[in-house]
Subunit: 177 residues, 2 copies
DNA sequence: CCCTTTTGCTTGACGCGTCAAGCATCTGGC
DNA sequence: GCCAGATGCTTGACGCGTCAAGCAAAAGGG
């Protein structure tokens, strides 16, 4: 099934062809993710937060009144702890996150979304939902299903993190709650 | 076609379901791209460069002896100019890039891969090709084709950049030459 | 020619993302 | 109890990625 000349290839102004279909797929995947990321970022930025900050707030909204320890937040993103600490620092400075030492285990720091953060995230629910649909608007239902299946398989082919020996699944943000 | 309970959903430790299939697709896309990016990064990092630096060097190798102005490099990545300037600064400091004012248009700065850079990139060709295949190893040929088609359509649904009114296609790195 | 505008790039400031180190707190073995 | 190790987080350093501002060279108009 030799392709005519793929979209990616034209986009990149290439001289030489791809070395493999896989290479083409990898490049398409990374480029597409960047495009989509930017689409979503434009939705939240006018509200004074970044996409990553929005992710954190959404996670914390879902955690509710019990809050969530820092590492737990990090696990739901795809990020290392240090990044999370500083992300939370910035959100705390903006009054969108409150932190508190856990009394039962004083090593942990519990994080909470403030009421202002909840209002902000609630307000962004509808626009973000629209942005998600818009980002993938070019796909018909069948294509979306196929995409999802393919992406799931790609991820399932790789250890959760590469760091930890082989613990269970990790998670990213942008989670619905 | 209600899915049983998607992979993503489990990975994220969710309580509530996705708001839409599109949301699920967007999250899967971003997460998968992150995973793949890390797989590739691990290949080049032992050689003392980052994935982005590798991208630039590959582009410059393809440009050959005429070199490429800074902005042209940026266009083949998905990045703004300032990032490219500094990327090139670091590569120049490492002796992998040489820069020179263009005599015909003294505003431009032509960039070249040094022989050391060429050797490095040549040396990485095979490992990177293997990594590309490895990254998508879980996909069968048909799935890879479907993925590619879906990704191309997603990108085609969005203006090249959102900044420039509507100029022609942009490009990313990781390009074969 | 001169003067405005455009083009090509650099700089400054800021928010990530990651690694390596460091510090406090808990845990398990004794 | 006590102490070595594990755990949870923070800090420092560095490489991106992006916006806004700045500067020099080129282009275009008069």
């Amino acid at each position: 099934m030799t392709q005519p000349q793929s979209a990616i290839q034209r986009e990149i102004r290439q001289r030489r062809p791809f070395q493999s279909r896989s290479q083409e797929g990898v490049i398409a995947l990374l480029r597409t993710a960047d495009v989509v990321r930017r689409v979503l970022a434009r939705v939240v930025e006018p509200h004074g937060i970044t996409l990553q900050q929005y992710n954190v707030l959404r996670i914390l909204r879902g955690a509710g009144a019990e809050g969530l320890p820092t590492l737990e937040v990090g696990e739901r993103m795809i990020e290392q702890t240090p990044g999370v600490t500083r992300l939370l620092d910035r959100l705390e400075a903006k009054g969108l996150v409150r932190r508190k030492r856990c009394p039962h285990d004083r090593r942990q720091v519990l994080c909470f979304a403030t009421p202002a953060a909840r209002r902000l995230v609630d307000q962004l629910d509808a626009p973000m939902d629209r942005a998600d649909r818009d980002a993938l608007r070019a796909l018909e239902t069948g294509e979306l299903d196929a995409l999802l299946r393919a992406l799931d398989r790609v991820r399932s082919g790789h250890a959760p993190r590469g760091h930890a020996p082989q613990d269970r699944s990790r998670a990213h943000a942008l989670k619905p709650t």
